[in-house]
């Protein structure tokens, strides 16, 4: 099969699954889940085939295929696919990790009566996400960008009867919409700039060839506007507030969408359109600092969190921050490498957390968990592997990718290197805290319902992801992505320091939590700072104040002005006149509907004739 056909098949098979489930299988748990899993597996196979075709071809193969979607004078919008090593890598993550999570969901959701709906949404998500990866122009990308936002909204609010879940879905969608406001303006701006020498275009390859003709100052603005979209989707400060709340969704969703793939779409976008950002030193500096800020802020928030999924969510934020920082330091390769390994181990951690939550009947507070390693050995040990990878312990995949980023920062910007290292320290501290409190030590002997290991349909995906987590550093991913790239040799000094930092973080957390205290000693140790962290630096309060007080009152004022000025003076004045005349005309009212109609029609004709004659 030709590669472009493979790409189209990979794109549309999850959509097909979604449609089939919606139309036929909304009542059957078995058939719906099998259809969805079949859909994503077909995509996965297609991606593997494309990978085989493209692997080891030099120079790296790149191909495009478009069909026109809207086309007339002055405007061309295509639907197309643009396949290159970067896209293949991302596709393999989406469909590979996706397949594991789809299968896992079959077990996790088995008691939920709405399982078919769940799989329909999940397939819709897979379709939209693959669409983002394959898009060859900005408008198509924006469409799929919105569609992943939509499926994220649907899946976060999947248990819509629960107010907190429904609210979280709305919050996620709206925060992303705010970001997309900038993104869309940026796309339109870039489009109008691209016509400097020839035809305007949304297409990536066209843009890449015309980029040098554009005024760099304008391009900086456009680039930053497009980066707004990234800030929303990849949950960077200050629009990070939706991601932690998004944990209201079912855990497989958190693993797939809010850890491995969708939130990484921002970094992927930056890497894919890096031709645009490469010459923009101004924009890149902003990007790097936003990323670093997010990394640090989110890491501090994870330290005081008690909900297992929220800890992982803040950790995701923080790692996304590191990736964004890497791109900002002109290292899309480093960013994408970390994105890949992060997808493996973070999906693993989330699925592990899901397995725990499933075993504990939806308990998510780590202080109510104890000694899980003994009770759930597979979940427990794969979770340990994921944790170590996240901390960056040699030789797990996280070590290699994080080290690349740290080395990059070390070479370019000392301040950012310090921030990144501090983030690593905090990362291993809060992950250690989670590990010691929930997994280490002895199970609670008085527990009436001790936790049991989850079924194979859930543990097999864990093992699959654990294998990837361990081997991810050795697969030659950076070389596949950027074969022409000069690789920084493993920087021994940076590697040593980062390893020491990681171990140090784990050690400090062991000192505090190794004995499994009954409650968090940090509450007293951090004092005032603890309150600030617990309230997440008051971001939610500030936004809440804006939405509920400023915006709502402004809207109310508008409505009130409308009532007073436009309706009362404008309209009621008119109505007064009309009423007086209406009273005199009342005698004509006969009550026969047809009579009114007839009179009116005749009347118009008569009036018209008079007017025409007079003129």
């Amino acid at each position: 099969m030709v590669s472009s056909q493979l790409a189209w098949t990979a794109l549309f098979s999850p959509l097909g699954a979604c449609i089939i489930i919606t139309l036929f299988f909304l009542r059957s748990k078995l058939l719906s889940s099998l259809t969805a899993i079949g859909g994503i597996l077909i995509s996965f196979v297609c991606c593997l085939l494309m990978f085989i075709q493209i692997y080891n071809v030099h120079p790296p193969l790149e191909f495009q295929h478009s069909i026109s979607w809207i086309r007339f004078d002055g405007l061309t919008i295509d639907l197309g696919v643009l396949v290159n090593p970067l896209a293949i890598m991302m596709l393999l993550i989406v469909t590979g990790v996706g397949s594991a999570i789809f299968i896992y969901s079959r077990g996790y959701m088995k008691d939920d009566p709405s399982m078919p709906r769940f799989f329909a949404y999940l397939s819709l998500f897979a379709f939209s996400m693959i669409g983002i990866v394959l898009s060859n122009n900005f408008i198509q990308l924006f469409m799929f960008w919105e569609l992943v936002g939509l499926s994220s909204y649907l899946l976060i609010g999947f248990w819509y009867e629960k107010p907190s879940a429904a609210d979280a879905g709305v919050k996620a969608f709206i925060v992303n919409r705010v970001a997309d406001f900038g993104f869309l303006c940026g796309i339109l701006f870039l489009w109008s700039l691209s016509g400097a020498t020839g035809l305007r275009s949304f297409n990536f390859t066209d843009l890449a060839s015309t980029i040098s003709t554009i005024d760099p100052n304008m391009l900086n603005i456009a680039g930053l506007l497009i980066f707004c979209g990234v800030v929303g989707k990849s949950a960077q400060v200050p629009l990070h507030v939706w991601l932690a709340d998004a944990m209201e969704g079912p855990t497989p969703v958190s693993a797939l969408i809010h850890a491995a793939t969708m939130v990484a779409a921002g970094i992927y976008l930056l890497a894919r359109t890096f031709f645009l950002f490469e010459p923009l030193t101004g924009a890149l500096t902003v990007i790097a600092y936003v990323g670093a800020g997010t990394a640090l802020i989110a890491a501090t928030l994870a330290v005081v969190e008690n909900d297992i999924k929220r800890i992982l969510a803040y950790s995701t934020l923080s790692q996304l921050g590191l990736m964004v920082m890497a791109v900002g330091l002109s290292g899309p390769m480093q960013g994408m490498f970390h994105l890949t390994t992060h997808a493996f181990f973070k999906a693993l951690l989330f699925l592990g957390a899901g397995s725990v939550i499933y075993a504990l009947h939806h308990e998510q507070n780590i202080w109510k968990m104890q000694g899980l390693l003994k009770q759930m050995p597979i979940t427990g040990w794969t979770f340990v592997l994921g944790t170590l990878a996240l901390c960056g312990i040699f030789p797990l995949s996280g070590f290699f990718s994080k080290d690349e980023i740290l080395a990059l920062a070390f070479e370019h910007n000392g301040l950012l290197y310090v921030v990144a290292s501090l983030t690593s320290l905090l990362t291993s501290f809060y992950m250690g805290r989670l590990l010691w409190v929930a997994f280490w030590g002895q199970p609670n002997a008085h527990d009436k319902h001790p936790a049991h290991e989850s079924p194979a349909v859930m543990t097999l995906p864990l093992i699959f992801l654990a294998i990837l987590t361990v081997t991810g550093g050795f697969l030659g991913i950076p070389h596949f992505l950027y074969p022409e790239h000069e690789h920084i040799k493993l920087n021994i000094r940076v590697a040593m320091i980062s390893s020491i930092v990681a171990v140090l973080g784990l050690a400090i957390s062991y000192a505090l939590y190794g004995k499994r205290p009954k409650q968090d000693p940090l509450t007293t140790k951090l004092g005032f700072f603890y309150t600030v962290l617990k309230n997440k630096y008051y971001f939610d309060e500030i936004y809440g104040w804006y939405v509920n007080t400023v915006q709502q009152n402004f809207a109310k004022m508008m409505a009130w002005m409308e009532e007073i000025f436009i309706v009362r003076f404008g309209v009621h004045g008119l109505t007064g006149i009309a009423k007086t005349s209406g009273d005199t005309l009342r005698r004509l009212q006969t009550g026969i509907v047809q009579f009114y109609a007839l009179t009116f029609v005749l009347g118009t004709i008569v009036i018209f004739f008079f007017m025409v004659n007079k003129l």
Binding site: I70, F144, V170, F181, I566, V601
Partner: protein
């Protein structure tokens, strides 16, 4: 022509309500088929007016009954076909004065068909009035709430608008001096002999203002929310969905096309009003508690995009406008149909009283969510296509206005998601435990049909765009040519 079939049905229908209902359904269905046929068979490569039918009527004034289809109205006729069929289907709950109800409903549909199809300016106006009059009557007879106030307000505004527009049209007729109401002739004549600029300058605003009132131009929109809220479901559907579009259609056909020089001068003003439409009405929608009012304000807000697209007078924008007219027509019909269904069951439309009803009516809730998302501009639905084209079209001419219009999309998402959240999600209010969903195929059909149209056009816009473009392209070339003339 569909119009002829409708007249026959209106006259035939008598006595038994069931029979009337069936006749009306069949009649409207036949005209849907006819409009579908016309739409599909319109030759978009050839362009121009096709399926022309002309009967001279008042020869001294050059008035003739003259119908024809070009790329633009073929799409709008299809819109009307779909909406009117859906509107007739949801009317089955009317128990009172069934015969009058259907006669008036058919009269609205007939008038609207006539107006869209007319190539003769006189007949356009005539049919436009035929469509407008029955709405007042239907509102006061089958409406709800403050129906007299609503009907009166709507009537006053629309009549005022229509008279202003009429003055404009007659002035146009006299100044052209061709002694003909034939749009094609006038168009060809003006292409070579444009009206003197100072004449254009005062006729143009009359027509735009007159028809702008129909199109809820800011600040003349206050009739719409209250009118739609009090009107019976089918009337809200047809009025918000289709009749309103007559205003935009008329502005496009009679104002912009015939007086391009004046358009170039006046349209920046319209663009600013358009932004007020989008943001101001959007903000007001944010604080509404009654879903029908909310939809009414949201509809005014969407008209801002139509106005913005009209204001940019270029191929992309005008194509976008027609696509958006189609999309919003379907969307508005769907929205009012759904809320009509909900309030028939619950006797309330208040967001504070509803809540969690998705549990009891999953089908309706799904449709409503899709409608709300389409309205919020999610891709995959037709509205996104229209909006993005308008935004692309207006970017060059009105940079800041476009940025504000994009902001309007954020607002749209806020109030629509809030509505879903408060109305359909969350824990169920115990008193709704006995609600029932749409069950039979006839109950579901209108919603499915409208949604299918939204999604089909959203996924494959060329389906309507190739017709629209064949209508817009020659027009915009002509406009450009006359604008370039000294």
């Amino acid at each position: 022509m569909p119009a002829v079939a409708l007249i026959a049905i209106t006259l035939v229908s008598k006595e038994k309500s069931n029979l009337i209902r069936q006749i009306a359904n069949t009649g409207i269905f036949l005209s849907l088929l006819l409009s579908g046929y016309v739409f599909v068979n319109y030759n978009h490569v050839q362009g121009g007016f096709q399926f022309v039918e002309q009967i001279p009527w008042v020869i001294p004034f050059g008035i003739s009954y003259h119908l024809g289809i070009d790329g633009i109205n073929s799409v709008l006729v299809l819109l009307l076909g779909i909406s009117s069929f859906a509107a007739t289907l949801v009317s089955k709950n009317i128990k009172d004065r069934v015969k009058e109800y259907y006669i008036l409903l058919l009269l609205i549909v007939l008038g609207t068909y006539g107006a869209f199809l007319s190539v003769d300016i006189f007949f356009f106006y005539f049919f436009h009035e035929i469509a407008a009059v029955p709405t007042f009557l239907m509102m006061s007879l089958w409406g709800s709430g403050r129906k007299d106030y609503g009907a009166m307000k709507l009537m006053l505004y629309l009549t005022a608008g229509a008279s202003i527009a009429l003055v404009g049209l007659i002035a146009l007729y006299c100044h052209v001096g061709l002694n003909s109401f034939n749009l094609i002739e006038i168009q060809q004549y003006l292409a070579t002999n444009p009206l003197p600029v100072h004449v254009q300058y005062w006729i143009f605003p009359l027509i735009v203002l007159g028809f702008g009132i129909t199109l809820t131009l800011w600040p003349f929109y206050t009739w719409a929310p209250v009118g739609y809220a009090t009107a019976p479901t089918a009337v809200s559907m047809l009025h918000a969905g289709v009749l309103k579009k007559l205003g935009a259609y008329a502005i496009l056909r009679f104002a912009i096309l015939l007086m391009p020089q004046a358009a170039a001068v006046w349209m920046p003003v319209v663009a600013i009003l358009a932004i007020l439409n989008i943001l101001y009405c959007g903000l007001i929608a944010l604080v509404q508690r009654d879903i029908k009012y909310l939809l009414g304000y949201s509809s005014c807000s969407h008209m801002g995009y139509v106005l913005l697209g009209l204001a940019c007078i270029n191929v992309i924008g005008l194509n976008g406008v027609v696509a958006l007219m189609f999309a919003h027509g379907i969307l508005a019909s769907l929205g009012f149909a759904l809320i009509g269904f909900v309030s028939d069951q619950t006797q309330t439309r208040n967001l504070d009283e509803l809540g969690g009803i998705a549990k009891r009516m999953p089908f309706i809730a799904t449709c409503f969510s899709m409608m709300a998302l389409a309205s919020a501009g999610v891709p995959g639905f037709a509205n996104f296509v229209g909006e993005i084209m308008v935004l692309i079209g207006s970017w060059d001419a009105y940079r800041w206005q476009t940025v504000l219009a994009v902001l309007g999309i954020v607002l749209g998402a806020v109030y629509m998601l809030k509505t879903i959240r408060l109305g359909f999600q969350g824990p169920m209010n115990a008193k709704w435990a006995k609600l029932s969903d749409a069950q039979t195929i006839t109950e579901k059909l209108p919603f499915v049909l409208l949604l299918a149209a939204l999604i089909a056009v959203g996924c494959w816009p060329s389906f309507i765009l190739r017709n629209i473009d064949s209508g817009i392209k020659p027009l915009s070339q002509q406009i450009q040519k006359s604008l370039n003339q000294p």
